[in-house]
């Protein structure tokens, strides 16, 4: 048999070249896949935060088993791992490179007179979908410095509203003027390199090109920390953070 003159090998190489070309010239598709990961923990004895009494709002009080709801200002997991920490790349991204906002919306729900999630990131122009699972009157009031404030009531029968944020802005509060204990925080970014910790305290930011980046971590009460991290083409670097109560 005459062997086919390496058509398969040439074909594979052509495919590979095509894929590389597509990746190189497709906006928003990172060629490299470096990641930064880490864990955020709380250092010291956690303060006892006052739980939230929702007896003023019967529907929500009932949703919490007729007990006070836990305070979300400091949520700790095993080993004092901190939830609700926003981590994002604050410096080092290639100048002039743009990242399209995902078509899928970021969802915030008003459930049990709490915002779920409590901390979230969103890209500029990405749809921000506001749900009202409680079926009572809520009011969603954003308090940004750079973006237009969104301050709108959401009656019981209006289950969903949508808005977006036109400008990048670091963390700002979202609150309900009907239920003053309700609070959430949003960061608006021009890129997708952000992550929010859950109760395991872990975050992962992936898809980064090789380079040196400044990472900022933020907590609603304990402020921000930054770290500078260099990654290669396919690295996974780990950077842990610790928050503590300020010294008295």
């Amino acid at each position: 048999m005459t062997k086919e003159p390496s058509m398969g090998g040439t074909g594979n190489r052509l495919w590979l070249a095509a894929v590389v070309l597509v990746m190189l010239f497709s906006p928003g598709v990172a060629v490299a896949a470096s990641s930064i990961t880490g864990t955020v923990t709380f250092d010291g004895k956690a303060p006892a935060l006052k739980p939230i009494d929702m007896t003023a709002e019967a529907v929500c009080h009932k949703k919490h088993g007729a007990k006070p709801a836990p305070n979300e200002a400091l949520v700790l997991g095993t080993g004092n791992a901190m939830a609700n920490i926003m981590v994002w790349v604050s410096k080092g991204l290639p100048a002039g490179k743009t990242y399209p906002a995902p078509k899928t919306p970021v969802v915030i729900d008003q459930d049990g007179c709490e915002y779920k999630p409590h901390v979230m990131g969103i890209m500029v122009g990405q749809a921000y979908r506001i749900l009202n699972s409680d079926g009572i009157l809520h009011n969603i009031h954003t308090l940004p410095k750079l973006n237009p404030s969104f301050n709108r009531g959401q009656p019981a029968t209006v289950k969903e509203m949508t808005t977006n944020f036109p400008k990048p802005e670091n963390m700002f509060q979202v609150k309900c003027d009907v239920h003053p204990w309700m609070s959430a925080y949003v960061g608006v970014f021009t890129h997708p390199f952000f992550s929010v910790t859950s109760t395991d305290g872990k975050f992962t930011i992936s898809g980064l090109d090789a380079g040196t980046y400044e990472i900022t971590v933020w907590h609603e009460r304990l402020g921000t920390q930054t770290a500078s991290i260099m990654v290669g083409g396919t690295d996974t670097k780990t950077q842990n953070f610790k928050f503590a109560l300020p010294a008295k």
């Binding site: 009157l137 009011n139 009031h141 709108r152 009531g153 959401q154 009656p155 949508t162 003053p180």
Partner: protein, 586 residues
């Protein structure tokens, strides 16, 4: 009535004035003729009344059926106002603030003062025009610009003003862009009123016919004269306050923002030293006299029509005039009864309670005189008379229910409830607006040369009378139960409001039915221009000077120099050949 004649400045008359032929724009649009301007004011006012009424009908849906999507048209208002046809609270606030603003400043005042004042007053005093015709034109166009600004505010991001028609600070200062438009619109409207007031006062004093002494004035002239003083003296503080609030919003000043103001948990940066109560004082210093601006022209219209249709002189004319002047004066020292809840001291509260009780006396004198004027009359129940007679009990209900609000101790539980809404709507809706309707039917023949259809007029009247009461009477019940007027859902979330919720549906159906009963009026208004019964110059056999002019009057108004020979209401004079002796006949 005194037969003494006085020397008044000689007015120009039609045949003495050179009339150049005017083009369409100068004749009908940028006209300086008081009659055209009066009609412009009246039509503008009527259109804004209809628009303001439409805003209210939307609100009434939300109050009757809170949270239920508005069928058919609800989705037309967009996701930001009515997602899926369900009204958001912000849109309700928008509707509430703009309903009040439009009905008061763009509906009733332009119709009552700009419309009737401009059209009737010069004719009634025998003048060829207003003293300052060009200022008169500017006055109308300021109103027009103010109206356009207010309408335009619905289109700005965040919508129109949402801080109530009173625009209380600091809420109004931190509100959205619509509030800035509201303030600019108000500055136009106030300027319009000030120019008009100057013109009315000058015209009334300088251009009255020979022999027309003040005590020979028709009561309508007196009402417009006193109203003009109220506008002239009360509006400047609000204009100043409006400019100050505008500066607070756009220039970083802090006239009305107190130190340490915290909004939604965040301290505002540019605040300090200002006083929110200052806004309330400046607003109510205008807005209480404004209540009388709304009602006095109505009283004047009703007085004319009652005298004409009872075929009797007004009972207690002089008492009515003195009461009117006293009422105008007193209206400047009652404003703080709107502010009992601001924590004012007992001395101040006692003062304003006292002045408020006192101001009710001249109102009662006028109302009583009008009621007694009916006694023994040979009453003609035509459409204007029906509206005029209905005004009396409607205004009576509005006035009497205001007394508890003027007393500090009763105002505390009633303040800001639906009781207040019911009270002042009885004054201005079945009160003033009925009077204005009476005036439209009464002077329509003078403006057009034709009468409006009586059958349609009576349908309009009967339906309106019933519906007005169906709308507003339940609000007394809701208010006495303590339900706040500010709740976008009529109090759905409050247990104490539940027993009154069904009254909201009653009230709303009354409002929507009232809209249906305006259709005969709207049809009649336009149909009668061409098809109405032809009217001569004095179709009501009336006595006052405007009925000596042709219908409609030409430019310059009178073919002959009018002169007043007697008082305004010489009806059923014993020994006279007919049951009226016009004051313009020698």
């Amino acid at each position: 009535m005194s037969e003494k004649t006085v020397v008044a400045p000689k007015p120009h008359v039609a045949h003495e004035v050179h009339h150049e032929e005017l083009g369409f724009w100068r004749k009908y649009v940028f006209s300086t003729d008081h009659k055209v301007i009066g009609i412009q004011y009246a039509v503008t006012g009527l259109l804004f009344l209809l628009f303001g009424f439409s805003l209210m009908m939307l609100m009434r849906w939300q109050l009757a059926y809170p949270g239920v999507p508005l069928p058919l048209i609800g989705q037309l208002f967009g996701e930001a106002r009515m997602p899926g046809g369900t009204m958001l609270p912000e849109f309700y606030n928008e509707l509430g603030a703009m309903h009040g603003t439009i009905m008061v400043f763009l509906g009733v005042v332009p119709l009552a003062v700009g419309g009737f004042g401009n059209f009737v007053l010069p004719l009634q005093i025998g003048a060829p025009d207003m003293a300052f015709p060009k200022i008169n034109m500017v006055s109308y166009w300021c109103l027009f610009l103010g109206g356009i600004t207010m309408l335009g505010s619905f289109l700005v991001p965040g919508g129109a003003a949402q801080s109530g028609w009173t625009s209380y600070a600091p809420l109004s200062v931190i509100a959205g862009t619509g509030q800035t438009w509201w303030l600019i619109g108000m500055i136009f409207l106030i300027t319009s009123s000030l120019l008009g007031a100057l013109n009315f006062i000058t015209t009334t004093i300088q251009l009255r016919a020979k022999g027309l002494t003040f005590m020979r004035f028709p009561f309508f002239c007196w009402s417009q004269f006193v109203t003009a003083f109220l506008l002239l003296l009360a509006f400047p503080p609000l204009e100043a306050a409006g400019v100050m609030q505008l500066m607070d919003r756009v220039a970083g000043t802090s006239f009305f923002l107190p130190s340490g103001l915290v909004v939604s948990g965040q301290a505002l940066a540019n605040t300090g030293g200002g006083n929110p109560l200052l806004w309330q004082h400046l607003f109510w210093f205008l807005a209480h006299p404004e209540v009388y601006v709304l009602i006095l022209p109505g009283m004047g219209i009703v007085a004319e029509i009652i005298a004409n249709n009872t075929r009797k002189p007004l009972w207690g004319y002089r008492s009515m005039v003195y009461s009117l002047v006293f009422l105008g004066f007193m209206s400047f020292i009652v404003w703080a009864h709107h502010m009992f809840m601001t924590g004012m001291g007992t001395t101040m509260a006692a003062f304003f309670q006292t002045t408020t009780m006192i101001i009710s006396i001249p109102s009662v004198v006028i109302l009583t005189a009008l009621i007694i004027s009916l006694w023994g009359g040979s009453i003609r129940y035509n459409t204007p008379m029906l509206f005029a007679v209905a005004f009396l009990p409607m205004f009576g209900i509005g006035g009497l229910t205001g007394l508890p609000l003027g007393l500090n101790i009763a105002d505390i539980p009633l303040h800001d409830t639906y009781y207040v809404i019911a009270h002042f709507h009885y004054v201005v809706a079945p009160g003033t607006i009925f009077a204005l309707m009476a005036g439209i039917y009464y002077w329509y023949p003078k403006a057009t040369g034709r009468k409006m259809n009586e059958t349609l007029g009576k349908i309009h009247f009967a339906g309106s009378l019933i519906c007005m009461n169906v709308i507003f009477m339940p609000m007394f019940i809701i208010g006495l139960a303590g339900v706040s007027r500010r709740l976008f859902d009529a109090g759905t979330a409050y247990a104490f409001a539940q027993p009154t919720m069904h009254w909201n549906a009653v009230s709303s159906w009354g409002a929507w039915t009232l809209a249906l009963f305006q259709i005969p009026f709207i049809f009649n208004f336009f149909w009668s221009i061409k098809k109405g019964a032809v009217a001569d110059e004095n179709p009501w056999q009336a006595t006052t000077i405007e009925w000596s002019a042709p219908s409609p009057p030409p430019h310059g108004n009178f073919a002959q120099v009018p002169q007043a020979y007697r008082g305004p209401y010489e009806y059923s004079v014993p020994g006279a050949g007919k049951d009226f002796v016009p004051q313009f006949e020698a």
